[in-house]
Amino acid sequence: MKRTRKPRLAVWKFASCDGCQLSLLDCEDELLDIAGAVEIAFFPEASRAMAPGPYDISLVEGSITTPHDAERVHHVRRVSRCLITIGACATAGGIQALRNFQDVRQMASIVYANPAYIESLSKSTPIADHVFVDFQLHGCPISKRQLLETLSALLNGRRPPATSHSVCVECKRQGVVCVMAGRGVPCLGPVTHAGCGALCPRYARGCFGCFGPKETPNTAALAARWADMGVPNDQIMRAFRGFCAYAEPFRRESEAHER
């Protein structure tokens, strides 16, 4: 059957830095083609024209941190046929999930003179804790290439490609010498989801986990290896408590090193 109308795309924002939705505008070579293939119906960062739903594809950025957003996300789900979360905030709660390990009222009083004005939940949670999510893109920020690949798969009626391996595989593929084995640099690569193209090791730096935990990561073994290398316990704790701190395997590992 011939398609009679272009699929409609919406881009939503919750608590976030805007970087993941900016990735769409950063597709400088492809942006006009994307706009040719879909109707960009709702994308407030880029357009004042905000067409009402329903939408075929919703890209959702950001985590849920306020009572208002906890309601709004249900609206987003209702008007979306396929809901894709983009980035560490939407898939894991983001850096603002560091509040989940502390007293949020105390944090508010550090930043604001009158914390009574602040409406904020005690935890920053991923979208999937609230509504059903069809597909997740990891990363802080997401990879532009993965975003394009996912959109293209959906538009062409195939399953978006999903990898389950770690950053280590990306290093091997690119012939990057292991920073941990070669130079003793602590690296989260063995437990971190692939997707960045082994960016940090290519820049002589250890992975710091912005794509979140890979499937079935052995975080305890990696932490033990770091400890053997002489990395202090509090540094191990902080390494797991970063941009994907509230993703279950990282949360558990950081809590194991809390004292």
Partner: protein, 430 residues
């Protein structure tokens, strides 16, 4: 009609989410509020207890549009706390990285977020239907800014190569050479952009701003300098907090910054330009003159032209830095943390971004203060909108609302810089 309310419930084409509420009573503007729905993310609180070395990566996440600015203010502040100086090649690389962000961010704003207003379009895709060449030029130019950030920083959003003391890996001169040809094209395209923006129909408005900017002995300001204003301010960055106040006003969305005992002020392209025209690259000065822009510009709507001039300057400056680049002996200097306090201000694309950290002898962060440019401009934005509404009360409501939106967008407000933004409880008096 004596009472009217203009509400723009969702302000489009800004980074982050905000709205605007203007209240008119008896033909007078009674109130203007820039409404920010950006949920607070408590960055200053969550930095406490983190290691000094994590500040550049964590604060980058405040804003996906200007992460380099956050990384730069963070590394400079930490280096001042530890009394570290970096050698000239590292300084040059930082400046090059910043040039990339200025180009990317300015071009995004000029063409994709702001120009559609002047052309009566909803967005850049609509512009592309009537002016396809303009949009193609914009995307190619923006991409070159991103290429610089990617090469020096590792990736365009949240670069990974920046660290306190320098970089994880310094690029080779050969790698930087690959940017020369694109940048030569970019400089020409930026000059075209100056002419294009100057040809747009400009609403009239002259505002008697207090311009606040960094000033460097011989460069257009980016990473360092003293803080100066056109009303006699001339201070070092360490004195920032004794000259500027942040007020938590009831019924307001944000901590409003003011110059103590004086009031609102403006940071960003108009301020930098007005007080540093003499430091612009000769070609940028020349194009500014050709475009009929004076050495001082007080019309906020013309900020789009000033951004274009700064884009051209950033291209020229990037070319110079690449031409003179000699790789550093080591990508970073050694860092030995000690107890202390460090302050830094750098020029983010939207204006001065101030960071202050107190760290203990192990380098653990005890407290952090971050003042983003949009927080500093917020009160001035509201005053500009008030002025625009007062002059244009006769316009039909949708047109007036659009003009107000446009006035807000002149500031390229980066609302995601949510360190200091509050959720507004709107005051809805009859």
């Amino acid at each position: 009609m004596s009472a009217k309310s203009i509400r723009v419930s969702c302000l489009a084409r800004v980074e982050g989410e905000g709205g605007l509420h203007v209240k008119v009573r008896g033909g007078q503007v009674a109130d203007v509020k820039l409404n920010i729905f950006e949920p607070p993310r408590y960055f200053e609180a969550l930095l406490r207890g983190r290691d000094f070395s994590e500040a550049p990566d964590i604060t980058a996440r405040i804003c996906g549009i200007c992460p380099v600015a956050y990384q730069m203010s963070a590394v400079h502040a930490m280096e001042r706390a530890f009394d570290i100086a970096v050698p000239p090649p590292i300084r040059a690389l930082r400046r090059l990285l910043y040039c990339g962000e200025w180009i990317e961010s300015h071009v995004l704003h000029i063409y994709l977020l702001h120009a559609p207003d002047y052309l009566g379009c909803q967005d850049a895709l609509q512009v592309a239907r009537t002016h396809p060449d303009v949009v193609r030029r914009a995307l190619r130019l923006k991409k070159i800014g991103n290429q610089i950030v990617s090469l020096v920083g590792g990736r365009e959003i949240h670069p990974i190569n920046v660290r306190v003391g320098g970089f994880h890996r310094a690029p080779t001169p050969g790698e930087l050479q690959t940017l020369v040809e694109p940048l030569q094209w970019a400089a020409d395209a930026a000059a075209e952009t100056v002419r294009f923006t100057a040809s747009l129909p400009m609403p009239d408005l002259e505002v008697d701003y207090e311009f606040v900017t960094l000033r460097h002995p011989d460069e257009y300001p980016m990473n360092e300098g003293r803080i100066i204003s056109n009303r006699g301010l001339h201070i070092s960055v360490t004195e920032y907090e004794s000259h500027f106040a942040e007020e938590h006003v009831p019924h307001s969305t944000a901590l409003h910054s003011t110059v103590r005992k004086r009031g609102t002020y403006l940071v960003g392209p108009l301020a930098r330009y007005a007080l540093n025209f003499d430091r612009l690259a000769p070609r940028a000065q020349e194009e500014a003159r050709r475009a009929g822009l004076g050495e001082v510009c007080r019309n906020p709507f013309q900020s789009i032209v000033v951004r274009a001039v700064e884009t051209l300057h950033a291209c020229e400056e990037a070319l110079r830095l690449i031409r003179e680049y000699e790789p550093p002996d080591a990508p970073a200097v050694e860092v030995h943390p000690c107890a202390g306090t460090g302050h830094a201000a750098t020029e983010a694309p939207r204006g001065i971004l101030y960071h202050r950290y107190r760290v203990d002898q192990r380098g653990s962060i005890l407290s952090a203060l971050i003042v983003p440019p949009t927080a500093q401009n917020q009160k001035q934005i509201e005053m500009d909108v008030r002025e625009v509404v007062e002059r244009n009360l006769g316009l039909p409501e949708p047109d007036l609302a659009w003009l107000c939106e446009q006035a807000v967008r002149c500031y390229d407000p980066c609302i995601s810089c949510s360190t200091h933004f509050l959720r507004l409880h709107v005051d809805r008096q009859p």
